[in-house]
Symmetry: C2
Subunit: 206 residues, 2 copies
DNA sequence: GTCTATACTAAGATAGAC
DNA sequence: GTCTATCTTAGTATAGAC
């Protein structure tokens, strides 16, 4: 090896990754705000401040870009879960994750996991890495659901599937956006209301 | 008046309206299945079995077509509400309407009230007739929410706004589609699960 | 690897004959 | 009022110079 041989990621390499991160940040925000269909590649490029063609050097297609952003999102969720105190009970853990997701969403930072009829869904389900991440996340949440039921904290008369899918659905509930847009409630009140709703429902317990 | 003067809607007139209804039916189904953005005017025309240009003689734009379908939908909801037994209590009425909407959705017959970031929303909120219908519907549901609270049937610590918007959101909950696609639950089980979820939450009452 | 300029395509909308 | 054929635009993607 010569003296000039770099032993670390080169300068250019780091710059490249920084740029890529900036692109993902912009895509992330636009996806969260406008959704996949309404977001154009031009907008993303403009938000980053680069030309569209440059963006395509980093990501081969709009679908690939969105998929990358979604993967990063799920990794963050997994990281948050890893950081949770192990002393929390199953239902407390679920609540903590939902609370985190709701806050993130209200801050404009959660690209809505796509509802079933978006063009993005097809691309995502074909991306093995994405599917693996979702499987990982669902596995962890699913364990909590099972534990929660076993400990008598969660209703046993609801299928695990229902609880899990509804958990996901609450993170992209359109009611949140309308409440925020209405402007009559602050973020904290919205979060607490949605948590109450998910865990206790609208009916007053006797 | 001559002997040939029609005293009723003419034949052609009735045929025209029948055609228009057929167009709305097709649009309705496609909107429910694929959503506004993913539905093309070509598809609607093909489903009816007419040329696209003919469709445009009936509706001046895709937005106008979708708006008309949505208005018809809300009118049906109002009609269903009118037909409800007055002896039902407020919370029972809310449950009945939600149950009706969920069944309709599972049968593929409920165009998802648009989540906040669809191109359709802008068009809808500018259509006075549509806004009036939504106001009417929200008014009736809102009364039930107030009564339900007053009678101690609904939780008083949730703002009316939250209950109402979540009610709407449950009719287009993506969890429903995923559960149906999963195939492991029949429609009736899905409906009952979603009702339980909305009214009682996931937490087991002590 | 970034840019400007352009090709390609899908989809909303219209023209004009009948 | 229905059709076939066409216009137009918006948006994904690429070519080619630097």
């Amino acid at each position: 090896m010569t003296a000039t041989a770099p032993t670390r990621p080169s300068f250019k390499q780091r710059q490249f990754e920084a740029r890529e991160d900036a692109i993902l940040d912009a895509a992330h925000e636009l996806l969260a705000t406008k959704g996949y269909d309404q977001t154009t590649v031009d907008e993303v490029a403009a938000a980053v401040g680069i030309a569209k063609a440059s963006l395509y050097k980093h990501f081969p297609s709009k679908e690939a870009l969105a998929t990358a952003a979604m993967k990063r999102m799920i990794q963050r969720a997994l990281a948050f879960i890893d950081g949770l105190s192990p002393s929390l009970s199953a239902d407390e853990s679920l609540r903590a994750v939902l609370e985190w997701a709701l806050r993130l969403r209200l801050a404009g930072g959660l690209p809505t996991l796509p509802s079933s009829n978006s063009a993005l869904v097809a691309a995502l389900t074909q991306d093995e890495a994405y599917v693996a991440l979702v499987t990982e996340l669902t596995g962890r949440l699913g364990l909590w659901v099972q534990f929660g039921k076993a400990l008598g904290k969660l209703r046993a008369d609801l299928p695990d599937e229902v609880i899990l899918l509804s958990f996901y659905a609450r993170t992209c509930d359109p009611a949140i956006d309308f409440l925020k847009r209405g402007g009559s409630m602050d973020d904290e009140t919205i979060v607490q209301s949605m948590l109450k709703l998910f865990f206790d429902g609208v009916r007053r317990s006797a």
